[in-house]
Structure formats: C-alpha cells, structure tokens
C-alpha cells in the first residue's frame, strides 16, 4: 500500500492479538475490563451467546492467561466468577492502542 507522497507503508496486522481479535472474545474481554468480575450467566446474557460458544471462548481466554476463574460464596451459595488478569488487562489495552493506530492511519 503506498501513500501519495511516494513512500511505502504497510498495514502491519501480523502483531494483532488474535486471541482478543475474535468478536465474541473481544466482547468478553471488553466487559471484564470494565467490570470487577462477572459470572458466565451475566456474560452470556450481555453478549447473547450460547453456552457452548461462551464456554469455548472462555477456555481460549483462560489458556492465554487473560481470564481467571474465581470460586466464591455469595449468600452461602457457590458462584464461579470470571475476572480479567493483569496480563489480560495489558493485552486489551495494547490491542485497543494497536487498533486505534491502524484505524487512524487509514485515509479518510
């Protein structure tokens, strides 16, 4: 891709975090970024995903070390909550900056 001034500039998409880049996972990470924690039911309701879909995306995010599972008790009932790890937060911020940079570079 070249710009009118003649120099060459590439859109470097190779470093985009593909774990976060998938739309459903992006939504999950974005939700957990603004919330302290949420359980799977809340995420499913907010995102409109099926249980199977949500489970597979959560497993992928957990494998990447972006999401951690917390088992806690609320009113003496066990609740499995999900929280973004520090690594996940940094990855999301980095992804957001990357995408902003890419989109800002695009011609109007």
């Amino acid at each position: 891709m070249s710009d009118p001034e003649g120099s060459t500039r590439d859109l470097d998409v190779s470093e985009i975090d593909k774990v976060i880049h998938e739309p459903a996972r992006l939504g999950i990470v974005a939700h957990l970024y603004v919330l302290d924690s949420a359980d799977a039911l809340f995420l499913k309701n907010q995102m409109g995903l099926t249980w199977g879909n949500l489970s597979s995306h959560l497993a992928r995010l957990e494998d990447a070390g972006y999401v951690e599972v917390i088992k806690e008790f609320v009113d003496r009932k066990p609740v499995t909550s999900l929280r973004l790890t520090q690594r996940g937060r940094e990855a999301f911020r980095s992804y957001r900056d990357q995408m902003k940079g890419i989109l800002d570079d695009l011609p109007p």
């Binding site: 939700h31 302290d36 949420a38 359980d39 309701n45 907010q46 609740v79 499995t80 957001r96």
Partner: protein
C-alpha cells in the same frame, strides 16, 4: 472503536432493569404517607412514628440487597461493578442521601417530641406543598444522577407536579404521597414481571 464507557453503562442499566429500586423507593414513600396519616390520630406521640420511619430508611440497603440476591442474580447472573470506575461514588452517595433523609426524619421526630416553637419549621408546615415538591424533586434528581436511571428523573418531575398541584386542589398531603409511592411501586412490579420474562431461570449447573 470499542466504547468501554458504553459497555459499562449498559451493564449497569441491565442490572437495574428488574425494577427493584422502584419497588423499594415506592414502598418507602407509601410508608411515609401512612406515617403522615397516622400522625393525625396519634397526636403528641407522633415523633415515635417519625423516628421509626428514620430507622426504616436506614434498613433500605439491606432489603434491597436481599431482593437482588433473590430475583436478579439467579436470572441475570452475578456481577460486581468496578470500584475504580467511579461506581463506588454511587454507593457512598446513596448512603449519604439515605443518611440525610434519615437525619431529617430524626430531626422532625425531635421537633415533634420537644414541642418546641421553631419559626423555620412553622414556615415549612405552612408551605408544605412547595417544600415536599422541591424535596422530592431534588432527591429524585440526585438519585437519577447517581444511578443513571432516567426514570428517576420522571418520578421527580411527576412528584413536583403532584405536590405543587396540592396548592390548587384541596387534597390532604398523605394522599399525594400515597399516590406517588403507589405509582412507583406499580412501575417497579411491572418492570420486575417483564424482567422475569426476559431472563427466565436457567440451570446454574454450568457455572460449577
């Protein structure tokens, strides 16, 4: 791009879709009307009723939290809003608002109990329609701002019109307060029914 503020706002509004806050605020206002009515019959012991009302306001957060656990969390899911995102100001402001109301009730109870002759209180009693109209409008605007729930602004506007109309229509005060509380509770119950239809109970086994 990704609007995290909008995501957080939507999550917060979903959390309040259940109408529980409307039910409890409405219930408090209905109780207020009952206390207002009862003071006509109780006479000099009225300060005890107002004192009891002050205590009820203080218990509101506990009842609210228990209702959330019973109706909202099993259907919507469990969520904790981030303290860092400024929602902690909501809890603090809510407590301040309820604390102020509780203190006002206590002050009123003290006045009635002491049988003192305080001029500013006499002025409030004389122009009670405007006082209540302004008080409710101010409180609803405050809670609406804290919670981002637009319907609280409408309650404020409705209550102002309701109480101000008392200047022109010969209606006893407690009827106006009862009407406002009843309308809010009804709205809350309708919202709760709608919420239960929209978010039916699911098996939580998937969570474990």
């Amino acid at each position: 791009m990704i609007n995290t503020k909008e995501i957080e706002r939507r999550a917060y509004l979903t959390y309040h879709k259940d109408g529980i806050i409307d039910i409890y605020l409405g219930l408090l206002i209905v109780m207020l009307s009952i206390v207002m009515l009862s003071t006509l019959f109780v006479g000099t012991e009225a300060f005890m009723m107002w004192g009891g009302m002050a205590g009820t306001f203080a218990l509101f957060p506990i009842f609210y939290r228990e209702s959330k656990k019973r109706y909202t969390f099993p259907r919507l899911g469990y969520v904790k809003f981030s303290e860092k995102k400024g929602r902690s100001r909501n809890s603090i402001m809510m407590l301040l608002g309820l604390g102020t109301l509780s203190a006002l009730m206590g002050l009123w109870a003290f006045f009635l109990g002491s049988k003192g002759d305080v001029l500013w209180v006499e002025t409030i009693i004389t122009h009670w329609h405007w006082f209540l109209a302004s008080l409710f409008l101010g409180l609803f605007l405050l809670f609406g701002y804290i919670t981002d729930l637009k319907r609280l602004y409408y309650y404020g506007l409705g209550s102002f019109v309701l109480f101000a109309s008392g200047n022109f229509v010969p209606v006893m005060g407690f009827w106006l307060v009862l009407a406002l509380g009843g309308a809010m509770m009804t709205t809350g119950l309708i919202l709760l029914q709608r919420f239960k239809r929209e978010y039916p109970l699911e098996s939580r086994a998937r969570d474990e």
